[in-house]
């Protein structure tokens, strides 16, 4: 592939910024509520700003910083930057927005440009309280996007789009539903080692997986992420200012970004390419910049609104050959203690559906160490892959000295 990015300009950004603080809300406790049962959708117990504010306070405390140390702000869904700044009494010198990986890349650029030195990245989403819909009549209309454009034919939902993806994978490569089930089982096992996880204390077996109902066949209930409320915050700081804080700084060692949007509503990148062109574009940036290869990655996390995402990213980033993802995820390989522990917090399937945000604190903590039974022993290199409908990004984190 022809390189259209400037490797010489990208390389010096390695280890120039660090993650110095992380925080999140109490996903499991908030989900279960006082009576121990899941809050009903639409019950409106939380709002997004309450959740985001709590996460921000915790991330600052984790870093040992005060809000006045923050001079840049990135807001994720569902927050308005203007309201967030007002609420938190901030007058940043720079602000950005986006998903977690995008915000880390933006913050890295802003800090390196000299616009600011310490950026708070904050997300809050009361999607269970608000009863946010990701399929069906309530998301119909208002633009052109594949998950509702085909409503007249009865086609809807993000899950059904990934069902089409997995069905295509089955047809081309012979991947089986039992093979896919290993992903949901592994992530649930991880969640059972994470007291904050929504699904803590609720293990599943492959039989439970196979006996669960289909939602959009060939995907079953456990292939789908949770719908829960939560907030996450991440403090990114110029590396030379990160040394004497409370936590071991975790370096941003590699970044990469590549999109594959042509004919997206037609589902062409999804079904004809499994988004691999975007994966390859990101891999060409993130690995050389960090000076590592997939073989060096000790702990891995991928966006997992659906289990299928993991197959796509493992194949696209070269952890296995295209079509071999189903075989790769077997026999504990992706579990803690295995060759490539993936989504060790339980991910969005079993920890918390924070739309990429919950993965970052987990990778940071894995590199800091001390997670007990959930700890990936000797973890030094962690990778996050954001693979969402052809908008692909990746971050490689390493342990700072």
């Amino acid at each position: 592939m022809e390189e259209v990015f400037d490797r010489k300009r990208l390389a010096p950004l390695k280890d120039t910024v660090a993650i110095v603080g992380v925080g999140e809300t109490d996903y499991g406790a908030d989900y279960r509520g006082a009576d121990g049962k899941a809050a009903r959708k639409g019950e409106a117990r939380y709002d997004s700003y309450t959740l985001a504010s709590r996460a921000l306070k915790r991330a600052l405390d984790d870093a040992g910083l005060k809000k006045d140390d923050i001079d840049g702000l990135c807001t994720g869904p569902t927050l308005s930057s203007e309201r967030a700044c007002e609420l938190w009494g901030m007058n940043p010198r720079w602000s950005g927005s986006g998903d977690a990986a995008q915000c880390i890349i933006e913050a890295t650029m802003a800090i390196n440009c000299g616009l600011c030195h310490t950026v708070a990245l904050v997300y809050g989403n009361a999607q269970r309280s608000m009863d946010t819909a990701y399929g069906g009549a309530r998301v119909t209309g208002g633009g052109i996007t594949s998950y509702f454009y085909y409503a007249p034919w009865g086609m809807t939902s993000q899950g059904a789009l990934y069902a089409l993806f997995f069905q295509r994978h089955k047809l081309l490569y012979g991947t089986t539903e039992e093979q896919l089930g290993a992903i949901a089982v592994a992530f649930r096992k991880h969640a059972c080692l994470n007291p904050k996880a929504v699904m803590y204390g609720r293990p599943i077996t492959i039989d439970d997986y196979m006996n669960a109902k289909y939602v959009a066949e060939p995907l079953r209930l456990f292939d789908y992420c949770l719908i829960n409320d939560g907030g996450v915050a991440i403090i990114v700081r110029r590396a030379d200012m990160a040394k004497d804080l409370k936590q071991t700084p975790i370096m941003v060692s590699g970044i990469g970004w590549s999109e594959e949007n042509v004919d997206a509503t037609q589902l062409r990148p999804r079904l004809k390419d499994f988004y691999h062109t975007a994966h390859h574009g990101v891999a060409a940036q993130v690995y050389p910049m960090a000076g590592v290869t997939p073989k060096n990655v000790d702990v891995f996390a991928t966006y997992d609104s659906f289990s299928v995402h993991l197959l796509a990213s493992l194949e696209g980033f070269g952890f296995c050959q295209e079509g071999e993802g189903g075989a790769f995820v077997q026999n504990g390989r992706i579990e803690i203690g295995g060759e490539l522990p993936c989504n060790t917090s339980g991910g969005m399937l079993s920890e918390s559906y924070m739309q990429s945000w919950n993965h970052q604190p987990e990778l940071v903590r894995q590199l800091r160490g001390g997670l007990g039974a959930r700890q990936v022993q000797g973890a030094e290199v962690a990778q996050y892959v954001h693979d969402v409908a052809g908008k692909c990004k990746s971050i490689i984190y390493t342990k700072g000295g």
Binding site: G142, I144, A151, G154, M155, T156, A160, L164, V215, T265
Partner: protein, 137 residues
């Protein structure tokens, strides 16, 4: 009264696409500068940014790429199980639809299906919905 279906996403270009369906014509915008077929309908060619196009008729044949069967109901108009397919049309575009006159168990990757028509209606009015069934022998 025609069959009421979940609402279409309508804009001036989509409106024209659906207007042709009243005559059971499957037409797509084709760029008159570079020849690329466009779907969904829109103001410009994504390949060359030309806004010149014609509404070209297509063969109405395509190969099956993938399918999914809804087991959870999302639309009252579509009781489950309901199967949706994605085809790669002869002219290039991929097209989401649903299969008729064929059991899901008999769907195969690469199988050629042909357009059929069934009636539809929503708040924008009546139309015909392109669906796909086994090609005539």
């Amino acid at each position: 009264m025609a069959t009421v279906r979940p609402i279409r996403s309508i804009d001036p270009y989509a409106e024209q696409f659906w207007a042709y369906t009243l005559n059971k014509e499957l037409r797509f915008q084709k760029c008159t500068d570079c020849g690329k077929f466009r779907w969904p309908p829109g103001p410009t060619c994504d390949q060359c940014l030309s806004d010149a196009f014609e509404w070209a008729t297509v063969t109405g044949k395509g190969k099956v790429l993938s399918w999914t069967t809804f087991r959870r109901s999302y639309f009252k108009e579509y009781p489950v199980p309901h199967t949706v397919i994605v085809l790669e049309l002869d002219e290039g575009p991929l097209f989401v639809s649903y299969p008729v006159d064929i059991d899901v168990a008999n769907l195969r990757e690469g199988m050629v299906l042909s357009v059929r028509w069934t009636d539809g209606e929503d708040k924008y009015g009546a139309y015909n919905l392109p669906v796909f069934g086994p090609s005539p022998a």
